[in-house]
Symmetry: C2
Subunit: 188 residues, 2 copies
């Protein structure tokens, strides 16, 4: 029982610390303290901080994908599903747990840690492109709509919406940007 | 002559250091050293680091506005001008000097330092909205196009394009997002 939950607690503690303090500010000792795990136990399960950070980022990416899939894989037209995804409840001023990693220089400098961040955005773009292609083929969207670049635009709107909301200190610019792209998508 | 250029050198040094090390990593001593100015001279011209940071951010914002105005205030249809702005040469992987300030917790925590960041984005959105309204009124864009949210989308696409490009380690996702929003705008 103990052995099953210790790696979990170590991963969760690493996620929290990465979010609060960034990679450079996250020490193995702080991870152990927060997880209530000893140094021996930590090194029994993980080879070190990079290994734990990789597991932590991987779990964040997995959760994000599951949340996206729940909406995009659900019922409705393409625009309805994209709209439900863009408008789902989110803590805009906290920002995106994946997007924020792009501002952590230590994460970006390590190819192993950058990979899951890159792959998550690529997956999201491809998933959105598939939904848009479906909508186009069903005649829900204009026949001229190019799913790939449109999906890239939607991903950027989300990430940039967080940036501009943060600058404004309110979620309003995020919602405006979402309204704008959905209106462009919905044009006949 | 000396008196004229010292404040300038201090402001430029502060801009460079804010970019390289962030607010917390920018010390008055480092600013003086880089500017080749003494402590007395610095405090003769500026009340301290917050005052210098404000001048530095203000100058960055001013330069950004001038660069935008040069293109959006130029000749061409609305879509041509927006397209020229989005496609102008930029160092995508370096990111936006204004947008990056939203990731500096000390800048965001100080209302005086956050204000020029917020105002620059608001100005950019309004400027783009004015161009789009012009285009709509001239019949260049669909009559149903709502300039405000569309402009908010364009600002977010730029900022989010930088984020996703950084994750990918290449400017490709930025250009894809730009292509996507321009295609949506250009639909009849």
């Amino acid at each position: 029982m103990y052995d099953v939950s210790t790696p979990d607690r170590l991963i969760e503690s690493t996620r929290e610390l990465l979010w609060e303090r960034g990679y450079v500010g996250t020490s193995p000792r702080a991870i152990q303290r927060r997880a209530g795990a000893g140094q021996g136990s930590m090194y029994h399960h993980f080879s070190g901080k990079p290994d734990l950070a990789l597991a932590a980022i991987g779990r964040t990416a997995e959760e994000m994908r599951a949340g996206v899939e729940e909406i995009l894989g659900g019922p409705g037209t393409a625009v309805e599903r994209v709209s439900a995804y863009l408008r789902r409840e989110r803590e805009v001023l906290r920002g995106c747990p994946i997007g924020r990693l792009t501002q952590d220089p230590d994460v970006m400098a390590d190819p192993a840690l950058r990979r899951p961040v890159e792959e998550t955005f690529a997956w999201l773009r491809d998933r959105l492109a598939a939904v848009l292609a479906e909508g186009r083929d069903r005649g829900e969207l204009g026949a001229g709509l190019d799913p790939g670049p449109t999906a890239a635009t939607i991903v950027a709107v989300l990430q940039g919406g967080y940036v501009v909301a943060r600058a404004a200190g309110t979620s309003e610019p995020f919602h405006q940007a979402v309204d704008g792209v959905l209106a462009l998508l919905s044009r006949p």
